[in-house]
Subunit: 404 residues, 4 copies
Amino acid sequence: MSTFGTLFRVTTYGESHCASVGCIIDGVPPGLKLTAADIQVQLSRRRPGQSDLTTPRNEKDLVLIQSGIERDYTLGTPIGLLVKNEDQRPHDYTETDLYPRPSHADYTYLTKYGIKASSGGGRSSARETIGRVAAGAIADMYLKQIHGIEIVAFVSSVGKISVPSTTISSTEEDEDHVDDVLNPEYIELLSTVTREKVDEDVTRCPHAGTREAMRARIIRAKEASDSIGGTVTCVIRGLPAGLGEPVFDKFHAKLAHAMLSIPATKAFEIGSGFSGTQVPGSRHNDPFVLKENGGLTTSTNWSGGVQGGITNGEDVYFKVGFKSPATISRPQETAQYDGTPGTLAARGRHDPCVVPRAVPIVESMAALVVMDQLMIQNARRATAAPLPPITSLPPTMVLPPGNK
Amino acid sequence: MSTFGTLFRVTTYGESHCASVGCIIDGVPPGLKLTAADIQVQLSRRRPGQSDLTTPRNEKDLVLIQSGIERDYTLGTPIGLLVKNEDQRPHDYTETDLYPRPSHADYTYLTKYGIKASSGGGRSSARETIGRVAAGAIADMYLKQIHGIEIVAFVSSVGKISVPSTTISSTEEDEDHVDDVLNPEYIELLSTVTREKVDEDVTRCPHAGTREAMRARIIRAKEASDSIGGTVTCVIRGLPAGLGEPVFDKFHAKLAHAMLSIPATKAFEIGSGFSGTQVPGSRHNDPFVLKENGGLTTSTNWSGGVQGGITNGEDVYFKVGFKSPATISRPQETAQYDGTPGTLAARGRHDPCVVPRAVPIVESMAALVVMDQLMIQNARRATAAPLPPITSLPPTMVLPPGNK
Amino acid sequence: MSTFGTLFRVTTYGESHCASVGCIIDGVPPGLKLTAADIQVQLSRRRPGQSDLTTPRNEKDLVLIQSGIERDYTLGTPIGLLVKNEDQRPHDYTETDLYPRPSHADYTYLTKYGIKASSGGGRSSARETIGRVAAGAIADMYLKQIHGIEIVAFVSSVGKISVPSTTISSTEEDEDHVDDVLNPEYIELLSTVTREKVDEDVTRCPHAGTREAMRARIIRAKEASDSIGGTVTCVIRGLPAGLGEPVFDKFHAKLAHAMLSIPATKAFEIGSGFSGTQVPGSRHNDPFVLKENGGLTTSTNWSGGVQGGITNGEDVYFKVGFKSPATISRPQETAQYDGTPGTLAARGRHDPCVVPRAVPIVESMAALVVMDQLMIQNARRATAAPLPPITSLPPTMVLPPGNK
Amino acid sequence: MSTFGTLFRVTTYGESHCASVGCIIDGVPPGLKLTAADIQVQLSRRRPGQSDLTTPRNEKDLVLIQSGIERDYTLGTPIGLLVKNEDQRPHDYTETDLYPRPSHADYTYLTKYGIKASSGGGRSSARETIGRVAAGAIADMYLKQIHGIEIVAFVSSVGKISVPSTTISSTEEDEDHVDDVLNPEYIELLSTVTREKVDEDVTRCPHAGTREAMRARIIRAKEASDSIGGTVTCVIRGLPAGLGEPVFDKFHAKLAHAMLSIPATKAFEIGSGFSGTQVPGSRHNDPFVLKENGGLTTSTNWSGGVQGGITNGEDVYFKVGFKSPATISRPQETAQYDGTPGTLAARGRHDPCVVPRAVPIVESMAALVVMDQLMIQNARRATAAPLPPITSLPPTMVLPPGNK
């Protein structure tokens, strides 16, 4: 359905050519200072037309807040907001419409609903993500201002051009010689990257040695009237330990759910991910060490900040795979709805690569997951807090009161 | 929380040393012929002690049905079931308990709840999956008997030993010469593999050329008192088109959520997954062709049966990454709960590799997702079915009545 | 929270002085012919200023559809809609604001959120119901057009003026002489009343012998700068048997939940309700008789169409109690937020009695419950339909196939 | 479905003649001291055979805890528990089974599911409530021990025999002479009644002047092989202000949902309820006065502790109507499943009146609602707590920090 979250919850509406797209955000903490401008920042990072790498449409995407805020403070009641669609007319019928676009949602929407919007894939439109980004921007602002939680995403690969991450060699024989599961430079990048750094380049790749090749790869796709996929990596720093709900709503399970609900996504991995499956436990396990302030930390973080589905206080990092956009203007041999074979060349201009624009969407969905899990854990802690301390159990079964 | 699903819903309980583990399954279709033996099949595939590759514990794991079935027919009411724990005493306290096991859930459970089971990671125990497998077995049986939907999972890699799947070369220059996104043999394997074939070998890898090396790799981990990870690939054949709920509950988003709720999972990809992000849209798109019986099919299936988050009627296939088990008997340098450094060597025998046993768990979670999505789509179709046919819209906006 | 429903789901936003109030309706059957005018009908019945019995404000309440509909057909995607607030400025601060209005939501909203809208009770505003009425209008239209389900509410009492319903005498000794649990004329009214009939009089009471007294009672309250409560009775005719989900989501439990979520409600009863608790089972039970077309019906319907929480195909009727409106312009001795005693006289004009305007709100909430339960039962039936017939059970355990 | 609650959540299973009935309770605060005996107290109050007023079956109803507790402390993980059914054989088929019992759930279950348990109404069995009572007992214990919240229910009427509550006269003319909306003695009873007091008499009516007549009424029903209904009133004392979620999950809406999910319920009212609808606002409104400790309280409490759907810190009291039990051994003229008319006389012994046994069930459902709403409000407060204080808004818009 179109609702995401338990206590911090967003419900979205809208498709390409209707009057507006928007959302209702329920569960926003009351008393938070919030203006449209706070939301607009991420919306503007999301919108097309920001560089020669994206589609030339330049929609303004101005957010209009409808409710839930008075004199710049949230009331705790639902925030309704919307962004008007520039082109609100139903799509004009042309010969192109005879074809379901290959690997797009035209066919599946028609099959699912028995009817589809004239513009095709309905809610699979990238414009649907406006509501998520707006909701995520609110969560993100709260998390950063109040808890110092930083969520930063960036483009980690375009086609075969990738920020170097793994040090795992491709041969079985090398197994015993690996020192690190992932590249130390990559880990360093994760711990320092900022949104400002990411936005310095239109590719939204903060790795100097890679972004030029990425840019060239996207331009090559564009010139070929083709498209290319890529990956977005995201790091969440400053998370408290204890988030994530056993057993079905593990922290990374909710993250994966959130990420794969973004259009064009096909893959997700947390921590060392697929590469880590190749590394023996003795080297993949993250040993504990004493923190300076007294608690425990881990000396490595191949787990990506999540163990047993619960955050352990280390950085959470994950990668999301986006397929090459389905809509290309290069002619494709395919079939019409009735099966007649033919050649389809999509009209108009299209994003040859979505990953730069996907960066704020990934951040927003991450913020929604963190905010919701934080509120659920807050409920548990606040409910358990007044219980008397336990003195009769073995010490390793009970957290010392100071750590609560 | 411990509940999964909207209309077909499982709620589980239990940890390692309590009286029993079990679940309540709500939303089972009434009038389905069902006995304990039907459920036991998958439970027995899940349990340890099946080969020299797994832990030597041999729990019987006999399912005891409590409700919801009378004279071998389901009543439509919740099915309560449980499996007794053989060892129901709280864990005895030893020096080992001073250490949170690295990369296990001991530390995170303690942090989350402020208290933990003496045995450690509480609900992160593999025994928790018994409830899911039992619930999944019921869904699986319905889907297969009534709709011919086949769900088959198998081990696709152990460490660096992998069933060959991708044909994508590692250099940018080769890009224009790739014919297939994935290996044709691999695609053939997906379309033909059966559970019987998978169970022929203790590795649960159906690929003759790979399983011996896998087996050797697991034995090497075992002999080194170490562990090794791997991947499980799963294919769902015979799915109807139209499953998956836009926008947040896309079919693959729910699959990812379900899969990453399984203990030790770190990664998920559907269709061509991360590899597919490297392939231009013109080659990655799946062209439509006329089916023999009149509808549309696609000539390739790099999408993995899901487009726009909705199934298109082609095979759904996905891969799940399992990290190397955290519990190893090889000594590890780490710290105690209070930060004191020391060496931990886990007691007892442990699975050096979980992927063979994870196969029925992956199948079961897949069955839960399919069943729930099928029921939701059934609700939509049955509600829309009596509406009068639409004659006033452009033909490409409306599915011809025969296809409903 | 601000979301209601499982498969047919409405989420609302908005309070008195924000930009707009509105909602997102998810789960609307695709392919339904629907225009703004279809929704406007019920919105217009809900709005104030319709007679001298209600507040003289005359807001236009024009619905603006944002999404989910194209060329007058629903797409199956969420319908976003909104109604602009005429007065969008934050409320000006006056001395009156020093007082929480007695029995209003000013105090509880402030306590709950720590902040409240300047206009007071925030989401407890009657304007919030616009979203519900709009959503209910869509459900209502589907239910009536496609299934012939009629939902009609009417005013059954104002103050002590009540449409005669019960025949139960007030003395224990009479017990054995009662022939009917409820008045036969009342039962006849329930089975024939229409919205047209209800709207003939501004009281929205269809009972000729009562409405004049009701009208006089409301006018008396108005003239006294006071207010008066009342009840709304609603009947749902044409419901299929089998709706309602055991055990927590019984049909009448969901109805009660829906009704008591309407502002100013304090009581709910279904069928013979509280009066029925006084009647022995031998007279209160509804005996079964053969229907003309072959199935079973009941010769009486004191159950109100629900038995064991599941509809039995008879008319569902229930009554909802609305307290006297809290906002009155008559001076009240009370205290300011800081406890200072004083006299509050609310400014402006207020509804002396809300029940006439509550009629379409009750109908809409009823439609939301019926639609959601219908879709859930549709899911169950469509999922169970392809199962083979059961031949091995005692005949009274299985419904004959023809009745399915 | 069979699940109730958002953060504190119970899922139940089981019917009359299956192996056991039980539940899974998720969201229990970790670190709570809890033994089976704590749960057994309410289960024993619920079970039949406690007096000559109830059915003579004497099931032991011993609770068996399966999980979630170790060494008498809750782990925060789900608590699975069950109570074995004494008679686990499917019901033997007799001529009586040809008849759907009038006003029972036999017919509706068969219609809903197409199959039913041989014993009839399946999950509508009173034994299903065991799971709820067990879950409620845990919530109740936490609420009382940690927050001093007391939940006490009692029988307030049997048939026409009622604890005097209202002072509202039956004639319109008296209107201006009423001093109190409800009887002061009744309000006093609500503020002082205890479970011990309630249990002093088998009727579970704490009002000395009424209970003898109630007892006689029940015995008269029993001797007539008939049954009689009644009401249960419940008071919740010590509730914090601020519970209840606008707009659909108002505190009393959730209470009503919970109460009407109990078998045999037909009516619910909070505060002055239906009677209060007859009283003008000027007399029904609850004026604010300064509390001794500085905050606000109300000098009357006709609202029943809920205003705008949110608790205001006053006592919550509500009444639930239970119909006369449908199963009576007195012969009834009715029809068989196939429509054949005939006479049904139910076998065995049956409760002539359920309200005494319903008392702990009402308390338990109330405890479930309070606990869940408390946890949700805890989440909100704990999330908003670290926000900086607001200084720029009019003082009546913001709660002073000390009151948070």
